[in-house]
Symmetry: C2
Subunit: 174 residues, 2 copies
Amino acid sequence: MGCGMATPPEQENESTSALEGLERQIVDLFVDGVRVLGLPRSIGEIYGVLFISPTPLALDDLVEKLDISKGSASQGLRALKGLGAVREVEGNGERRTYFEPAVDLKRLVGGFIREQVRPHIESGKKKISKLAEAAREEPDPERRAFFQERVARIDNWTRRGGQVLPLLQRILGE
Amino acid sequence: MGCGMATPPEQENESTSALEGLERQIVDLFVDGVRVLGLPRSIGEIYGVLFISPTPLALDDLVEKLDISKGSASQGLRALKGLGAVREVEGNGERRTYFEPAVDLKRLVGGFIREQVRPHIESGKKKISKLAEAAREEPDPERRAFFQERVARIDNWTRRGGQVLPLLQRILGE
DNA sequence: GCGTTTGTTCAAACTTTTTTGAACAAACGA
DNA sequence: TCGTTTGTTCAAAAAAGTTTGAACAAACGC
């Protein structure tokens, strides 16, 4: 390390600049959270910063606070918008667009289900009907019966899954 | 292993050997399924093969059918046992251990929640109480109020999450 | 028009996770 | 005891997923 009085450079005095205490903890918590959901780290970071910010933030604020690239910030915001977890703030005379987090669980869960869960259930349904067909074609009667039982079971799972989701949303929606 | 009677190797005429039609489709379906849950591909493959097999299978059967390494099969089976998604079949006079899948949704969902979800909720709780502390220490009253509101909100989320899980299990449990 | 600011895109670099395979251990029969 | 079968471990290789950054586009004021 250099000589006396090392450069104190950094230090944006704005609400911008690096993360401090509470912010860091919140961001870490959300990083963990989205990881469980199978979403990338940067998504958690961005949502976390927005969540604990008293005011809306713009893309560049995120880049600076989190020390991530513009590319990451842009993609992360897009994903969060898609999930309905972040919205653009309207009607400030500014040129930049500012973002704020959606903070009610109903909306968050709903977005996740819509974007990440439903599509798989949908594509799964198609595969299952193909499966049923394949099972019907098994020549050996004993094996056929077994296969059909298993396929029926999967079908039942997805059916129940499909029923649970709206229920879930209702419960969490309060 | 010596002389005459040339090894007639390849071509297991058994239920073993490579995947065929229906099996392939089932395996693909489960690969997709576990991917949504954030579990590795081989887990889905292994569970899929067991799920559609009329008889229990041993580790070597999986290695052969799926063309994966013994290491993968061993680790995958361990994970599946941990999730309660697979069990060892008892009391066949054999030396090898055979496996069969758990096929009721309640058990499967329960295992997943226990292994993959609860631990995160637990560790989250600790972080949240640290968070509440940090929020209390914010000097500026306005910011403090805001931070406390946000922390309370997260706390509420986890509380509700914790309530939903047993409910979920009950509903799916039939 | 021109220069600036703001934001997007996407191939390549990087990181993380998963799989492999060779070495090892345990259990068994001969 | 020894050789064989069965299964586990873990460092290294491969695959998958994420982030970066430079090039590009759009919107704006002058």
